[in-house]
């Protein structure tokens, strides 16, 4: 880890001003992504700005829905009574992630900005377009067993966001509140926050330099109340998803009135599937419908040598998740 100076900020203004003065500075919240990468010399920062004292706290109902402060910790949000009741899938996505210790440290904002687990990205000895633009992508022909099959490009096939929470946020139309160094706030839907890799895999989100994530707001809906997050991994716990599904259904007398579907572990970004939702909406809540929706969701998949298994795995994961919420 390179040497750096450390500053504790107590207001957003103080944090962003520090960041403007030192362009290579980074914010640190829980530190579980940032220090991990800095120890591997994958990131270097001259200054770390501690944002743990910023008042981005609380889980509360507002007129726009449930608002969760970016500095709240994963465990606290996952176990929060309102989150459990109104957004079971969000609660489950948090409590199935990482480990209890990490979830006590990790913030909601940091979770949204975690980085890919692509092995080549995480080993500075290899070229990687995401880490060093233009250097190449060894994963195309190499070990790609945990990489994406949807939204890939010739430049990068990584699941840029490998985690869980943002998959649930993507399914349930969450909106991020961001604040820039001028103190100006803007709201960005999660579905527009993450970028596809295209020819610029180093650009992963629409976050501007120095901009802070302040909060996440989730609109209250019937389909979000009846939701689940199903995560499939190589071991029972403490592992990233090979495939996951966040789904919500509003079923009335056997007919699906509204549906939300997002997949994790298979897309270059948290993968919302309007195709699956279209199949589900207005259809009977039966296994045949769920199978058709799963087929539609994976229609555009472009698997490679070691991740072909994900096409079927993701479909089965989605079907099982839909069966669970349909009851």
């Amino acid at each position: 880890m390179n040497n750096f100076s450390y500053t504790q900020a107590t207001t957003a203004k103080e944090a962003t001003r520090q960041r403007k003065d030192e362009p290579t500075a980074a914010y640190i919240a829980g530190g579980t992504t940032l220090l991990d990468l800095m120890k591997a010399n994958l990131e270097e920062h001259a200054q770390l700005i501690d944002i743990n004292l910023l008042p981005f706290k609380g889980v509360e109902q507002t007129k726009d829905g449930l608002r969760i402060g970016a500095m709240e910790r994963m465990n606290d949000v996952g176990e929060h009574a309102l989150v459990r009741e109104l957004f079971p899938a969000v609660s489950e996505s948090l409590l199935l992630a990482a480990s209890p210790q990490l979830r006590n440290m990790a913030s909601i904002g940091g979770n949204i900005l975690q980085r890919t687990r692509c092995g080549y990205f995480r080993d500075a000895a290899f070229p990687c377009n995401k880490r060093v633009p233009g250097s190449g992508c060894p994963a195309l022909q190499g070990d790609n067993h945990n990489l994406a099959i949807l939204g890939t490009s010739e430049a990068c096939i990584a699941t840029a966001y490998p985690g869980d929470l943002a998959v649930a946020l993507t399914a349930f139309d969450a909106v991020l509140t961001l604040e820039n160094p001028k103190g100006k706030q803007r709201r960005v839907p999660v579905t527009e926050f993450y970028l596809l890799p295209g020819t610029t895999p180093q650009r992963e989100t629409v976050l501007e330099p120095g901009e802070l994530i302040v909060a996440v707001t989730l609109p209250l809906t019937a389909h979000a109340r009846r939701s689940t997050y199903l995560k499939v991994r190589e071991r029972a716990s403490y592992a990233y998803a090979l495939a996951s599904a966040a789904v919500g259904l509003d079923v009335q007398s056997g007919t699906i009135r509204a549906a939300r579907v997002a997949l994790g572990g298979v897309g270059t970004r948290p993968w919302r599937s309007p195709e699956a939702e279209k199949v589900l909406t207005g259809a009977p809540a039966t296994e045949a419908t769920f199978r058709a929706a799963a087929a539609a969701a994976l229609q555009g998949a472009q698997p490679r040598e070691h991740n072909r298994y994900k096409v079927e795995l993701a479909q089965n994961t989605l079907v099982r998740a839909l069966q669970q919420v349909a009851g």
Binding site: L35, L53, A98, S99, M105
Partner: protein, 207 residues
């Protein structure tokens, strides 16, 4: 760099600029660790300006004692405990949040000390495996690990015990399945899981 591992050997001596920055914030962060506990922590922290550069004196509260050490900001809490305070009970397994060997409690919550900076933990109550026993009286979780033979080589054990204590306190050891899930942040290469589980469950059931 050597300096964050071996503080007493080739650690860079403070040049004038880091001495200045030390003085600049000595009344700040240093002072606040000694401030009366009645003042809310956030209040104490807002009262001072707090940039730390180079090796700087900081105070950590570890196992009920204020300990002052001279560290660079990049020193993790784990390295501060092991290499600067000689509290080697907390183990370094992976150093990347993947094994749980470094588990300690900060303000009563279990965390991985390898992925946080020591300077970020000033003003907090840190408990390590050394702080669990009351004199010669072992903590019930320590006793349960001995009774159930919850280890083989013992390397993961301090982390398992710290995690186990927190797991029971959180109310996450109510069933075998629940305890397994909420203890999953602690890996054991020797595979002593069955006995670890028995120890945690016994302490949970005793209430």
């Amino acid at each position: 760099m050597q300096s964050d591992l071996f503080p007493d050997s080739d650690a860079p001596q403070p040049d004038d600029s880091s001495r200045r920055s030390f003085m600049k914030q000595a009344g700040g962060i240093l002072g606040l660790a000694l401030a009366p506990p009645l003042v809310a922590q956030a209040e104490r922290l807002t009262a001072y300006s707090k940039t730390i550069e180079g090796a700087t004196e900081v105070t950590l509260r570890v196992n009920g004692q204020a300990r002052t050490l001279r560290i660079e900001p990049r020193v993790t809490l784990l390295d501060a405990l092991r290499e600067y305070l000689d509290l080697t009970g907390t183990k370094k397994g992976c150093d990347h949040g993947q094994c749980g060997a470094c588990t300690v409690h900060v303000d009563g919550r279990r965390i991985n000390s390898c992925l946080t900076l020591a300077v970020m933990q000033q003003g907090k109550e840190i408990t390590t495996i050394e702080g669990l026993a009351q004199g010669e009286q072992l903590h019930p979780m320590q006793e349960a690990f001995i009774k159930h033979d919850g280890f083989q080589c013992g390397y993961c054990t301090p982390g398992q015990i710290m995690s186990g204590v927190a797991c029971v306190k959180e109310g996450h050891a109510g069933t075998d399945a629940q305890a397994r899930e909420w203890m999953s942040g602690n890996l054991c290469r020797c595979g002593a899981y069955a006995n670890i589980l028995a120890a945690v469950r016994e302490v949970a059931q005793r209430g």
